[in-house]
Symmetry: C2
Subunit: 334 residues, 2 copies
DNA sequence: TGATAATATGTCAACGATGACACATCCGGA
DNA sequence: TCCGGATGTGTCATCGTTGACATATTATCA
């Protein structure tokens, strides 16, 4: 059905080798033959079979992207910028998603290996297992992990400076005279969550506020409902906080609902900031948030990956992406 | 490097044919040979080469997904549910994205054809060109288009009942005594936008409100800023509307900011509803919205596609997905 | 006892593109 | 005139897997 090289060759009256030379613009081809081949390609609507090419060259031109989904994180946005960067560099990005589930991940990794991907991008806040890593390593598949640092041979990392990001956000409150700043964030279940809590603690400690004086509202997960409930609890305290530091915009959005319902105005009556800057700008009013450097993320990731695809070695490089505080004026002086 | 069937065969002391029989659980294999093959597969960490298999079977097991991105639409969410449905059915979904750009689309479609995808899902609110369609058609690639109906041979469609969705939302205002209901939505540039505007007009006309009495605020695009500006304009009218029907949650979110800034309370002072139900629940307060039946979308899409993959024909089937009005109480009686 | 079916395994030509290699021809310079 | 390089083209084994076909052995029944 589909035209193949042989068909082009016959149509143009040359051999498949010459067709190949025209297609790859490599080697000597007479202008005449070239013209005839191009005409035949056009006429028969020839599109080279990537699969056959990959089989013999042993390079698929495909990069796998494993996204471990998880309500309330940035993984969708991250995969989008990585996709854009990959396409810009001429790679095809093959995305597969899963929710936290080792069995699924095993299956997806086998699928990627079956496709003989040239590289793999893992976007996850949990770790791959040792077995999964070794499966990839014996096949010399370059891996770049976003969000989780592996420090493992053959794996490069792109990480967010979450401790510093959270620290800066909390300092924002403290510098404006706030003392009772509450932390709203999930009970740490991965590095990211620990880092943000750690950043909060560091900033508070640096301001001389002792551990037991800190108001920490841990939620079971990310989400609107969790944020709303946490804010309700905090507002009911005898001495409610004057500032709410939320470690996700979704939590902040929920908190805003609680505030709105109680008639507490932002920023006149209370200060608030979010994290991730995903929906912060969509709220009324738009609130402060902490933004990862997504503009660079795609490029950094693909640079690491292509360096490793050219020469596979055992070093494990790590790139740290800094966070940026986006000031929209919802943290005000007391 | 990678183990191949031949290696397994040697290790197990059988031929590749027997290895194949074990792998595909087909044909006769002695329990003993089976055991040895399985052990060899385990030992050598064999993963079949999907590319080679695809080459000879002429089925890649890959479904292409072309997402034409566009700020403010649901395409990310849609691609996610389609991905889930595809994975559940054992297909690999290969997603590529582009922004409105025919040249890019041509390139991506060629990439898909090069990969010999078994089917293609197009998520776009603009049409593929005639050339693109015929390229796919000569190769008998089943195509399912989401959002845009093609009524073109070889293309199945999954469409949203946007006229009815908008109509129902506007009726919600009218039934509660509103007369001055404003429409906030982009100047129609594709069917979706026209449909939502049409729905608004129908509902208003049915309530006896003449065309010239209708308040229509057309924006240049979807987005927070556009929604905010439109709401500001409307609030400045001598007789401001009592209800705002926004054809996207992002527009509604912007409108909410304008309301908040002016101290107009929702829903006490004004009624409002959004569309798409993407961020409506994250706002303070959460607002009414119109929700496409995303739960069914993935399944419906994949059903159409797999039916067509089994038997390619020229019929163009169309599935209409109904919209659901989500009532959160932000449209109240006057 | 021989015919037949069921069981078990191996051989080999595809799939479509690649690229090493061989073979031609032509030109310029020694 | 002969040689070497540039130019132009074709042949064929190969990539890893599949599946049609051939072959061999054992069990079953008339």
């Amino acid at each position: 059905m589909d035209a193949k090289m042989k068909d082009i060759a016959r149509e143009a009256g040359v051999s498949t080798a010459t067709v190949g030379r025209v297609l790859h613009k490599r080697g000597y081809v007479s202008p005449d033959a070239k013209k005839r081949v191009e005409a035949a390609v056009q006429k028969l609507g020839y599109v080279p079979n990537t699969l056959a090419r990959a089989l013999i060259t042993n390079r698929s031109g495909i990069i796998g992207c494993l996204v471990v989904e998880h309500a309330g994180n940035l993984h969708q946005e991250i995969s989008r910028v990585v996709l854009a960067a990959a396409e810009a560099r001429g790679y095809r990005l093959f995305t597969m998603q899963t929710r936290l589930n080792v069995r699924d991940e095993d299956e997806l990794i086998r699928q990627f290996i079956g496709l003989r991907v040239d590289g793999l991008v893992v976007i996850s806040n949990i770790y791959l297992t040792r077995e999964q890593l070794s499966l990839l390593r014996t096949r010399q598949v370059p891996v770049v992990a976003i969000e989780r640092a592996y420090f493992s041979p053959g794996v490069d990392n792109v990480c967010f400076r979450d401790v510093e990001g959270a620290e800066e956000a909390v300092r924002h409150f403290l510098e404006r005279g706030h003392r009772r700043v509450a932390f709203i964030g999930p009970k740490p279940f991965a590095q990211t969550e620990e880092d943000r809590l750690e950043g909060f603690r560091r900033a508070m400690a640096a301001a001389g506020i002792p551990e037991y004086g800190q108001t920490v509202a841990l939620t079971q997960a990310y989400g609107i409902d969790e944020g709303r409930a946490a804010a309700q609890r905090l507002l009911a305290l005898p001495e409610p906080p004057t500032g709410l530091f939320c470690t996700a915009d979704s939590l902040a959005a929920g908190a805003m609902q609680a505030l709105y319902a109680r008639g507490v105005r932002v920023p006149q009556d209370i200060s608030i900031s979010g994290y991730d800057n995903r929906i912060a700008r969509e709220l009324a009013p738009p609130i402060d948030s902490v933004e990862p450097d997504l503009d660079n993320l795609g490029g950094v990731t693909m640079d690491l990956l292509s360096a490793r695809m050219e020469r596979f070695d055992d070093a494990g490089r790590t790139e740290w992406l800094r966070m940026r505080y986006v000031d929209r004026g919802t943290v005000t002086a007391l």
